[in-house]
Point group: C2
Chain length 199, copies 2
């Protein structure tokens, strides 16, 4: 057994990590670099610890991926709920929502980021749950404005698709697909999908 480097270097004893700390680090890596970035050894180095810590809290790498996805789903749903809790009117709150999601954001939507690893079964299941709930919500709002059920669901799907694709475009052509303040006019276009009558 070699001497501890930390001891020889007189480094302060770092604090011990919880399972949650690992899960949060995994989520950060997941949304930043995809499933491939959820790697034990690089994460350990980033956290200033070693694999020994990780394998105490988790059985294997897949368990960390699952924990990160669960964390993401929790934050994701609560974030959406918070965003909508201030709105009340059925029709106008949908319109505001469409504007909000494009203009009042700093980073890319994690869902759009996760589509890159859609081949991973756990990721696919999580994305499926969150995305279908979004479509359900938009379709429900449209129905409550008097739109027929089937048409409402189709429009909701297109609107969510446009939203997802918007972040993809933003990553590669931010001039054509801006987010934030510059996206106000684009949000109006997106609103057409929900509001305009079919000819």
């Amino acid at each position: 057994m070699e001497l501890s480097i930390r001891y020889r270097m007189e480094m302060p004893p770092r604090q011990r990590l919880s399972r949650e700390a690992w899960a949060e680090a995994g989520l950060r890596a997941l949304t930043a670099g995809g499933v491939a970035a959820v790697a034990v050894e690089p994460l350990a180095a980033a956290l200033g610890t070693t694999k020994g810590s990780f394998y105490w809290h988790f059985s294997d790498r897949e368990e960390l991926v699952r924990a990160a996805l669960e964390l993401w789903e929790l934050e994701q749903t609560s974030a959406v709920i918070d965003e909508l809790s201030t709105l009340e009117e059925p029709r106008e709150r949908l319109r505001v929502l469409l504007t909000l999601v494009l203009t009042h954001r700093d980073g890319p939507d994690p869902v759009a980021q996760l589509f890159r690893d859609i081949a991973h079964p756990e990721v696919a299941a999580a994305v499926r749950r969150v995305t279908s709930r979004r479509i359900d919500f938009v379709a429900g709002e449209l129905e409550s404005t008097g739109m027929p059920r089937a048409e409402a669901r189709r429009r909701a799907a297109v609107a969510v698709a446009a939203y997802v694709g918007w972040w993809q475009l933003n990553a590669v052509l931010p001039e054509d697909a801006p987010v934030g303040r510059d996206a106000r006019q684009h949000a109006k276009v997106l609103w057409l999908v929900c509001e305009a009558a079919l000819t």
Copy 2:
């Protein structure tokens, strides 16, 4: 030097591979599994050869990725041109195009597949070129129908975003985001983005 397994097994002498064969195999892997799937040794195994062949035609793995992307851009542009060569009227051919891209396809659009590796600089550049040309085309068609330049570009961006996102959704929720014959009604919704007047 060991004896050649092929000789011992009396296998027929396989034919020699060209650089183009490698590039096509790379493109297939790229659109199927992303940049990570463009791996020399697995591809060599799939082609029934070894790395020796690869490194004769290419200097390294990155060169294969570039070759696959170039091949894709060539096929992609010619495919689009072929799709449009049968149409002539400025406004109606845009409408037909929007329907076409959702209904007359069997596999997912490679562009949507490539968005997963948008962090890769070569991929980003290729996707940027193809995507901006698509937006240019749609925006040009809209302008030729009398729509103001800025509004045309915004709508084109939203339409292309919806198209890109559609394939993402299709991968995870094919019920809500169908392609082929079942997408006719959805194509009409997409058409709203181009045609409807802003309120």
